[in-house]
């Protein structure tokens, strides 16, 4: 348990300065990471609350909990909040901000003030979105399809669009910071081929953030202008084309899903290597796979439009490319599995989350094969099959990766250990609750239940009830870590510098690190995941 130190507490980034100004005007990447942590957790619970309301409504076939318009707002805002205000920032803004400089031996990101600006843009956008939510909300679906969003919806489309526009710039600036930092601020001796895979995946993610997000930004600008001034760019009644909107929208929104998954994959690489005590199998292939996903990910967007009215030949091209992008993801799954071969495997909480990720991402990814098959997609697109598919990847994948990373690096971030037993319980609860919630939805989708339905034919009820039951279990699994992380900040075991005996520069400094990260700039002479030369964990004390 916690000990009250006899000697004065060592100075680190958390206690170096106290007071609200020292937090709100900080340029320390670690403090900014925590600012983001609080903000995105807040939005996660709002988005999660909406999800619970949706699942409660869907317990019965009739629309009886909320009105149809309210339901339409619930799924729209659940999607927008979870994607733009939770998932896209999550790992990069919290773990990435905290760890990128540490992992490369730098004192901060390249542009600390731009980093703070990024957070303020997030807060301004979040505030605007909350205002939108509280004054009527938006009901266009997170996808804003025209002409419904530009000419028919009676809700606050412009406000929501502007909020998302602003949070997009938060994302762009984070990506910009990471790319410059990784290029220019690596410690002496830290060549590209010695970088942790977490850095590779954040690099790939940042490329997507930089190239893709601006296209969403301009698309939202055009939607806002069209709605405000009755232009006709996307309205067929005025000579425009609704499909143009879809192309522009999906050109960002498909790569966006890779923004959401690549950082998680980076986390999984770190965790699996540490708890197998081995270098990752096929380091170069895993690193290159991240880059390939980022590149090919820009070429597949119209697989969201197979029944939208595109030509047969376009559909063929995009289906083929969609299969191509599945290959590097498959490579990663195989490589992580092979990493465990002849390893020394420990099933700690982070490892449970990482293994859960691999399992659920595999399932979600395999269902992507269904969706990329044109003949199948015609039947299952716009049904619960798609809903299940993306939740497997984004929740079963990305969120589990995020939670795994939070547990893994919690000692470094807070200087405390979380309670391991509760951690394992929460991981299992999340895994079970998740599958119970979303697996039935694959079946529902193939049976024909469309998505975004407030009421549905009675034969779909049984599976919906299972799904809602799972959601309540999942909710418990999410609340638990919040509670015990907070608890651990005061009562958790004090952590050592390297409680997991992991490789990586971040573990060579104290837990928590000092404000400037390292007492001396490290000089790197070893390859990544140098587990051959790191003492095994039983030789290292975990907590004092």
């Amino acid at each position: 348990m916690a000990t009250t130190a006899v000697t004065p507490e060592r100075e680190h980034y958390l206690n170096q300065q106290y007071g609200i100004r020292s937090w709100l005007l900080t340029t320390d990447h670690k403090r900014i990471a925590l600012l983001y942590l609080i903000s995105i957790t807040f939005f996660f619970f709002i988005g999660g609350f909406f999800a619970l309301l949706i699942r409660l409504e869907l317990l019965t076939p009739m629309g009886d909990l909320v009105q149809a318009d309210t339901y339409n707002k619930l799924f729209t805002m659940h999607g927008q909040i979870m994607i733009f205000f939770f998932l896209i920032p999550s790992i990069p803004a919290v773990l990435g901000n905290f760890l990128v400089p540490l992992m490369i031996g730098a004192k901060d990101l390249a542009f600390p003030r731009v980093n703070l600006l990024s957070w303020y843009l997030y807060i301004i956008a979040g505030g605007l979105y909350l205002h939108c939510l509280l004054t009527g909300g938006v009901d266009t679906g997170w996808t804003f399809y025209t002409p419904f969003s530009t000419a028919f919806s009676n809700t606050k489309v412009i406000e929501a669009g502007l909020a998302i526009f602003i949070v997009g710039f938060s994302s762009i600036l984070t990506g910009l910071n990471f790319v410059v930092t990784i290029h220019r601020m690596r410690a002496p001796g830290l060549t590209w081929s010695r970088l942790p895979l977490f850095i590779w995946s954040h690099y790939a993610t940042s490329i997507i953030m930089l190239l893709g997000t601006p296209v969403l930004a301009i698309t939202l600008v055009l939607v806002v202008l069209e709605r405000a001034f009755h232009l006709g760019i996307f309205d067929p009644k005025l000579g425009g084309d609704p499909l143009l909107f879809q192309h522009l929208f999906w050109f960002y929104s498909h790569p966006a899903v890779y923004i959401m998954i690549l950082p998680s994959m980076g986390v999984v690489s770190e965790i699996v290597t540490c708890f197998s005590r081995k270098r990752v199998f096929g380091y170069a292939f895993v690193a290159m796979a991240s880059i390939m996903i980022a590149v090919i990910g820009f070429l597949v967007w119209a697989h969201h439009m197979f029944v939208a009215g595109i030509s047969l030949y376009s559909a063929l091209v995009f289906s083929f490319l969609s299969y191509l992008v599945a290959v590097p993801s498959a490579i990663k799954v195989f490589n992580w599995t092979a990493t465990m071969y002849k390893g020394s495997v420990r099933f700690t909480t982070p490892m449970l989350y990482a293994l859960g990720f691999i399992g659920l991402f595999t399932m979600g990814g395999l269902t992507g094969l269904f969706l990329a098959a044109l003949g199948i997609d015609v039947h299952v697109t716009d049904t619960y099959f798609v809903v299940a598919h993306f939740h497997y990847i984004m929740v079963g994948g990305a969120v589990m990766g995020y939670l795994g990373g939070m547990h893994y690096w919690w000692p470094k971030i807070s200087g405390r250990m979380y309670p391991e037993f509760l951690g394992k319980i929460a991981a299992v609860t999340v895994f079970v609750g998740f599958n119970l919630t979303f697996f039935p939805q694959f079946i529902l989708g193939y049976l024909g239940m469309p998505r975004r339905y407030w009421q549905y034919p009675p034969e779909f009820q049984v599976l919906n009830v299972f799904s809602t039951a799972g959601a309540t279990v999942l909710a418990v699994g999410y609340v638990l870590p919040m509670v015990y992380f907070l608890w651990s900040m005061r009562y958790g075991a004090v952590a050592t510098d390297n409680p997991w005996a992991a490789s990586g520069l971040e573990w060579k400094t104290t837990s928590p690190p000092p404000t400037f990260n390292f007492d001396e700039t490290p000089e790197v002479t070893w390859e990544a995941y140098d587990y051959a030369n790191i003492p095994a964990p039983e030789e290292v004390p975990v907590g004092r």
Partner: protein, 233 residues
């Protein structure tokens, strides 16, 4: 890059603490601005994409619309912007040579050109407003229809041309205004003496931004003003 400066108070006020050397800081700033400009290309790119598609579909209306905007003002504005890029480039050179007063003069000229550009843009927009070519409820392109009886102008398509005209020039003008703000900041700091021949990175990267805004205009000008300027048959 072996020197560690942690714990040693840097004597160089322009070197931020997380950089090891001035060189590293300058390279990082430069790379950062180039990447940002890359995002701006993608930002404008979305609209250019919409423009290209509609121009392909509605060529006649785009050509007619293009002929209805003032090539005089457009060309003057192009020259104004190119001159402003020249003064920007010269100001960076002057900063390299430590000529503070010259830098101040050149920066002021740049801003003057920028304001002139915006003023002329305002005149052009007002002309369009008077001619009822502003998209929306009061849009009326019947004058263009009458002007080209042989090519059957579709007013809805014409409105799309003007929607894109205003959106693209508007977005560009917004970037110009932001650029003016940046240059006010740079002028202020030049006046205060912040920049030296050893440290003028903000001028350099501010200049990069201005050049980018200029280049966007170099694309906008032919795309909007010069469609099919040969006499219609």
């Amino acid at each position: 890059m072996a020197d560690s400066t942690v714990g040693v108070e840097s004597h160089d006020p322009a070197l931020r603490h997380h950089f090891a050397t001035r060189e590293q800081q300058r390279e990082a700033s430069s790379l950062g601005m180039w990447l940002f400009l890359g995002t701006e290309i993608m930002f404008f790119g979305g609209m250019f994409c919409a423009y290209l598609i509609y121009r392909y579909w509605y060529y006649n209306e785009f050509a007619a619309g293009s002929r209805s905007i003032s090539i005089k003002w457009g060309t003057i504005n192009t020259i104004v912007l190119i001159c402003s890029s020249l003064t920007v480039a010269l100001s960076v050179r002057a900063a390299q040579m430590g000529k503070r007063k010259l830098v101040l003069l050149l920066l002021s000229l740049t801003m003057l050109f920028g304001v002139a550009f915006l003023g002329i843009k305002g005149i052009e927009w007002y002309e369009k407003f008077q001619e009822h070519h502003v998209p929306g409820q009061s849009f009326d392109a019947s004058d263009i229809v009458r002007e080209y009886p042989q090519i059957h102008i579709n007013q809805q398509h014409e409105q799309i041309y003007f929607s894109l005209y205003f959106a693209m020039t508007g977005l560009h003008a917004l970037h110009m205004i932001i650029g003016l703000g940046i240059f006010l900041y740079l002028t202020f700091h030049t006046w205060k003496g912040t920049y030296t021949p050893e440290y003028y990175t903000p001028l350099e990267i501010g200049g990069l931004y201005w050049h980018f805004v200029d280049i966007v205009w170099i694309y906008l000008y032919p795309l909007l003003y010069l469609i099919d300027r040969k006499p219609l048959g």
